[in-house]
Amino acid sequence: MCMSEGHTPIDSLLSYLLWLIISIVMLVYLTAAIRQIHSYRRWSRWRIFSFMCGCVLLAIGLTPKLMELAHYDIRVHMAQHLLIGMFAPLALVLAAPLSLALHVLPTQAARRIMQVLSNPIIRFISHPMSALLLNIGGMYVLYLTPLYKASLTYPYLHHLLHLHFLLAGYLFCWAIAGPDLAPRRPGMRLRLAVLFLSMATHAYLSKIMYAYHLPKNTPHTSGQIQEAAKLMYYGGDLAEVLLAVAFFAAWFRISRVRIKTNKEVRLC
C-alpha cells in the first residue's frame, strides 16, 4: 500500500474539531431563526429543517470512521464526496442562511455584508460559470490528474479537498438556485444552461471513470473504482435533479406571487 501513515490520532482530533464547528454553526442558525420568529417576523420551518439536514449530512460525511475508510476504499471516498460536496451544500443553501443573517444582524453589520457581496471578486466567482468551473472542473482535475493519488499520501491535501468540495458545492447551488440573494445573479436562461452543462459533465465524468478505471495509479481495484463511479453517477444524478427542482420551484413561487398582482411572468 502506498499510503504513508494512514489514519493518525491527530486526524481523529481534527474530525471532532470539525464536528464541534458544525454544532456551533447549527446552534447559531437555530438561535437566529428563533430570534426571528420571536420578533413576530416569519421564518419558514422548512428552512430550519433544511439547515439541520445539511449539518447532519456534513457531520456524517466527516465521521472519523468514514475518513479512515476513505483512505483505503474509493467507494467510501465517493460517498463522502456526495455528502460533503453535493447533498449537504444544497440543504444548507436552501436554508437561506444569508437572508437570515441580514434579518437578524444590526443594520450596520448587514450593510457590511452587502458591501462584501458586491465586491467585484465575489461577484466574479459567484457567477454560475465560475462556480461550475470550480465545482465540476475541480472534480475533473481531481480524478484525471495525479492529484487524487497525492491526496492519499498527504493528509493536509485530503482535508483541503474536503473544504473545496463543500465550498465549491455551496457556491454552485447558491449561484444556480439559492433562495439567498446574489448580487447581479444572471437570468434564468443562463443559469439553466449552466445547470444543464453541470448535469452532462458530471454524468460524463462518472462514465469515463467507469469505462477507463480512473483515477489511475491508485491502490484501489478496478471493481472498486467502477462501483465508486456508479455511485457517483446515480448519487450525482439525484443531487442534480434536486437542484433542478429547487431552481424551477423558485421560478414557480415567483409566478404564484405575480398571479396575485396580475403581472406576467413566463419561464424563459
Binding site: F196, A211, F248
Partner: protein, 160 residues
C-alpha cells in the same frame, strides 16, 4: 375576438408543455433501458467510446431537465387555471411518439448516429420501435383533433 385569442394561447401552451414532458419521458425510457440497463447502444456510436459516453451524458441531462421543467410548467398552468386538458393529453402522446419516431427515422436511418442493436437482424427491432412511435402519434393526432373540435363547438355556442 379577444376571448378566442386567449383560448388559442392557453391551448398552445398546454400542448407544448406536455409535449416536452412526453418527449422527455420517452427519451428517459430509451436512455435508461437501452443505453444504461441493456447497453445496446449509445446516442452517438460513430466515434470513440469516450465520445459515445459524452453523447449519452448530454442526452441524459436534456431528458432530466425537460422532465423537471415540463412538470413545473404544467403545475404553473394549473395554478393559473389555464390548462386545457384536451390539448395537454394530445401534447403528451405526440411528445412520446414524436421522440420515438424522430429517433427511429432521423437518428437511426438518416443520420445513422446509432442502431438499436448490433450484430443482429435489425428489421424486427426497427419495425417495432417505429410502429410503436407511429401508434402513439396517431393517438396524439386523434386527441388533438378532438380538442380542436371541442373548442370550436364551444366558441360557436357562445356566438349564437
Amino acid at each position: 375576438m379577444h376571448r378566442e385569442k386567449y383560448v388559442f394561447v392557453e391551448s398552445r401552451r398546454s400542448f407544448w408543455t406536455t409535449f416536452l414532458i412526453g418527449a422527455g419521458f420517452m427519451a428517459a425510457v430509451d436512455e435508461i433501458i437501452f443505453h444504461q440497463l441493456l447497453a445496446w447502444h449509445h446516442f452517438y456510436d460513430q466515434a470513440t467510446p469516450a465520445i459515445s459516453l459524452l453523447s449519452d451524458g448530454l442526452l441524459h441531462a436534456t431528458e432530466l431537465l425537460a422532465l423537471v421543467a415540463g412538470f413545473f410548467m404544467w403545475a404553473d398552468l394549473r395554478q393559473r387555471h389555464e390548462l386545457s386538458a384536451g390539448y395537454a393529453r394530445a401534447g403528451f402522446f405526440l411528445g412520446l411518439g414524436g421522440f420515438q419516431l424522430f429517433d427511429g427515422i432521423v437518428d437511426h436511418k438518416l443520420l445513422r448516429l446509432h442502431q438499436i442493436r448490433y450484430g443482429v437482424d435489425l428489421l424486427p427491432y426497427d419495425l417495432t420501435w417505429n410502429l410503436a412511435g407511429l401508434v402513439l402519434i396517431l393517438i396524439g393526432t386523434g386527441l388533438l383533433y378532438r380538442a380542436k373540435k371541442a373548442i370550436h363547438s364551444k366558441s360557436s355556442d357562445q356566438n349564437t
